[in-house]
Amino acid sequence: MISVTGRELTTGQWVLRSLRLDSVLLLLLAILLMLGLVVLFSASGQSMQALERQSLRIALGVAAMLVVAQIPVRSLRAAAPWLFLAGVALLLAVMVAGEVGKGAQRWLDLGILRFQPSEIMKLAVPMMVAWYLSLRHGRPRFRDLLVTVTLVLVPVYLIMSQPDLGTAMLVGTAGFLVIFLAGLGWRWFVGLGAVAAAAIPLLWSQMHEYQRQRVITLFNPESDPLGTGYHIIQSKIAIGSGGMYGKGWLNGTQSQLEFLPERSTDFIFAVYAEEFGFIGVALLLLLYFVIVARGLWVAALAQDRFARLLGGSISLTFAVYTVVNIGMVTGLLPVVGVPLPLVSYGGTSLVTLMVAFGILMSIASEKRLVNR
């Protein structure tokens, strides 16, 4: 037994505390990551190679989380403006020298690895907005609104022009969630909503043809069963045929026989739903909900405004990921290319999310010791 600040701790608790980790969050993430590997094995057609590569990415993600968790919140806060500026600079670099992948210019080749600068902005934008708002006091005023909205929209515009609608939307969401959590008055939200509504036609004109097509097929996927609608139709068949209890692990015909496109990446939820049924789906939704709730709890107990806003934004962005992905796979939302967080095959999104959870861990370990 080791005694710190007068409370008795077990060895495990001591280790976790020393590593600045939140035990509940860690456990929930571990469950989700393990489940993700189980589903991926099935979705990838029982490919050991895919399993190994994803395990490697998870290891990388966990390592990143551990490292980030060690960074004191005040250092994160100090780094926020620099990270943001660097991110914007990289986005501009992509516009000039980016590599084209899947018809869009998103990647920056650094020799050893290619990466998407837009991923950095998923964290840099909320950090920046939280940084700015932590300098101010009280409810955000009109001036604060102007500044923060600009801070959000500049990178969002850059990412949209790559074009990467999904990421742009998520980056924007993360930024606006900070503003929301800072207590921006409701009338301003109404105003923002009106501006957003007015922006939709503008947005539409800025969209690429394939993005418009995706939006169109959402409302009538059967109109193009061999083209864009195929994803949604096959996905719904996979989910629906799963039924209450599912077809069983490795027994989903839609996924195993390759009818379901993108089954190990964006549409992995459909594989899960086909094989584990409604019961499994309900449990997964619950798991995501609990993770978000835990993240918000951590944010609520945070020491200062920066930590609070950032932690809250990270948790809610994670929630938005989840809802958008499942909404997309079930045909409620357009297919915008958002992966199922921590489950979909692929490295970039996973590492970014684990870094985000590292920040949450750091915030958790610096919570107010005494609730005055």
Partner: protein, 624 residues
């Protein structure tokens, strides 16, 4: 104070934040419930709907083509069988650049424009991973060359498929018929499900008539396929049921002998067994090679067959309609006896022409000087036209027609093959119905000698001759002897008997005597070619000469060609041995000229082939 204010500000900010995250959690909870509601709608509400869609995705039913029944002659000689044919197929998914592949394949096998056109068509219609036929009927050398170079030819497969072949070739093409690729018209007359896995279908003859029997029942294989259509595993199999083997009444040896007896002339021979109506030989000359039809005949080759002036594709035995000429005289004589218009003994003086009293027109006899005094039997034997003009004039068409109809004229015999026509038996009603004109007495005269409107097929001629030989008994001519595998549930076909022709026995005697006289008496029309050679058995028969009608308006005038085309058709009908008939024959030689000189010797050869053994002795009846 400032610190206190800052603390208060921090406290308020924290409370605002707490309020906002509770709000956010509520919204998230609501969204999660919305997703849950959506998922339950898909997974519970519409589960069975999506299960059906999912099963439709993964399950495919493939047809297993049945093995077609073979066709044999009455002695077990194979007339139509199945053999493995090697064909070149390409699976597009595996081929990569199809054009480059075709280019390379040209080094191994000659690909015609027709092959390539069919291949392109197949490419558009195929299902994923379904091989497309490129060329059928590869020879062994080509198969070997391609097999060796398979690694250079991705997606190329050599497939062995059972294909119809006809070992007896063109001499049997009209009786056996042929198979060809199924086309749209075929699909309209069959159940497409039964032919799902089959590429060929009977197109004519027995192959077509007994299609249902020969085809068999297809089997089914339920397989699981992936999204690319590749078969992953087999779930269940229902094996196909092979088609029934059939044995024909045809005697292959006699069929060949008959074909050869035609000596390259165009025409038809029908040989029947009068005891039961079995068709022993059914020849239409010239025949054609049925094999190209199986492999997919080219347009050029087919056009050539169709435009051939000898009309090899035309089944003269069943579809050809010719004036029966003098071969119909025995029937007319019988009708006159039956109608009591005359008696067998009544004699008349047959001059070289006949005039209807009160009319100028002379109806000529084929023999300018006439035949002198003739009774019924002699009139038939010498084939006096004038005698029958006289009978017909007395009898009139109305009393002549009923008996001819009883003999089956003007109606299809109902043989179990395709393309049979019914000929024409003219009458007052017929003429009014078809031409809206009254019947003229002169038409009765020429009808009595088998000219004018009257038309019969060679099969009908054989059929009425069989009725004569049988003294009225009329088993229906048929080609199917038995079904099923020899020695294993052989299923014989019993002859079907039609309404017999009822005539007084002495009238049959008169006609039989006349038919023997025609062959074996020096004044008989077949004496010169048959009787004078003293055959070892007695033949009863009747020669005939069938006048060819004038040229059509659109035919070119070509003296050489015209002359031959205007020649009469030579006919001979008969049976032997006369006292106990075992074979009935009808022989037609198109543009052969005189029946006695041209058709009778052909008939003699066929009868010899059937009735004599190698030593030239008569053998036991019905056992060739």
């Amino acid at each position: 104070m400032a610190e206190r204010e800052a603390y208060g500000e921090e406290q308020r900010d924290r409370e605002r934040f707490a309020f906002r995250i509770v709000l956010a959690l509520l919204v998230l909870g609501a969204l999660m419930l919305l997703l849950g509601w959506r998922l339950s709608g898909l997974q519970v509400g519409a589960h069975s709907h999506f299960t059906t869609l999912s099963e439709n995705n993964r399950l495919r039913v493939e047809s297993l083509a049945p093995t077609r029944g073979v066709i044999r002659d009455r002695n077990g000689v194979l007339l139509a069988g199945n053999r493995a044919s090697y064909q070149l197929e390409v699976t597009i998914e595996q081929a990569g650049d199809v054009d480059a592949l075709l280019e390379r394949l040209q080094d191994f096998v000659e690909l015609s424009q027709a092959d390539l056109a069919r291949f392109r068509r197949g490419m558009r219609q195929r299902r994923p991973f379904e091989p497309v036929l490129l060329k059928a009927g590869l020879d062994d050398a080509t198969v070997a060359r391609i097999a060796v170079s398979r690694h250079e030819l991705p997606g190329v497969e050599i497939e062995a498929r059972p294909l119809r072949y006809y070992p007896m070739g063109s001499q049997f093409s009209h009786v056996v018929g042929y198979m060809g690729r199924i086309n749209q018209r075929d699909l309209e007359r069959v159940d497409p499900r039964a032919y799902a896995g089959t590429s060929h279908i009977g197109k004519s003859g027995v192959e077509r008539y007994y299609e249902d029997l020969l085809h068999g029942t297809p089997g089914y294989r339920q397989v699981e396929v992936n999204a690319q259509g590749r078969v992953i595993r087999e779930l269940s199999v229902t094996p196909s049921v092979p088609g029934t083997d059939i044995t024909l009444t045809i005697d292959a040896r006699l069929q060949q002998a008959a074909y050869q007896a035609m000596k390259g002339q165009d025409g038809a021979i029908v040989a029947l067994d009068p005891n039961n109506g079995e068709v022993l030989a059914l020849v239409s000359a010239p025949g054609f090679d049925p094999e190209p039809f199986v492999h997919g005949i080219s347009h050029a080759a087919f056009a050539e067959l169709q435009s051939d002036p000898r009309k090899p594709l035309f089944n003269r035995a069943l579809s050809g309609q010719y004036p029966p000429g003098s071969t119909v005289k025995p029937l007319v004589g019988l009708a006159a006896l039956d109608e009591r218009v005359t008696t067998a003994d009544r004699e008349m003086f047959a001059r070289g022409y006949f005039q209807i009293p009160g009319h100028e027109r002379r109806y000529r006899d084929w023999r300018r000087e006439g035949h002198g005094r003739v009774d019924m039997a002699r009139a038939i034997a010498v084939s006096s036209d004038v005698y029958f003009y006289d009978l017909a004039h007395t009898m009139e068409i109305d009393r002549m027609v009923p008996l001819l109809r009883d003999f089956g004229l003007g109606r299809q015999v109902g043989i179990d093959s395709t393309g049979e026509r019914g000929g024409i038996l003219p009458s007052r009603d017929w003429k009014r119905a078809t031409q809206n004109q009254p019947w003229f007495p002169g038409e009765t005269l020429i009808t009595a000698i088998g000219q004018g409107y009257m038309l019969t097929t060679p099969l009908q001629m054989a059929d009425f001759t069989m009725t004569l030989a049988n003294r009225g008994k009329r088993p229906r001519p048929h080609l199917l002897l038995s079904m099923g595998v020899d020695g294993d549930g052989l299923d014989p076909v019993l002859p079907e008997h039609r309404e017999p022709v009822e005539v007084a026995p002495e009238h049959w005697d008169t006609v039989h005597k006349a038919l023997i006289e025609a062959v074996h008496q020096p004044h008989g029309t077949a004496w010169g070619s048959i009787g004078s050679t003293r055959p070892p058995y007695q033949i009863a028969g009747k020669t005939g000469t069938s006048q060819v009608f004038g040229l059509g308006e659109d035919e070119e005038y070509d003296e050489e060609e015209l002359a031959r085309r205007l020649w009469d058709h030579a006919l001979f009908v008969g049976y032997a041995p006369a006292e106990d008939p075992q074979i009935v024959l009808a022989v037609l030689v198109e543009h052969g000229g005189s029946g006695g000189r041209v058709a009778a010797p052909v008939a003699r050869e066929v009868m010899d082939a059937y009735l004599l053994n190698d030593a030239g002795m008569t053998v036991e009846a019905g056992a060739p």
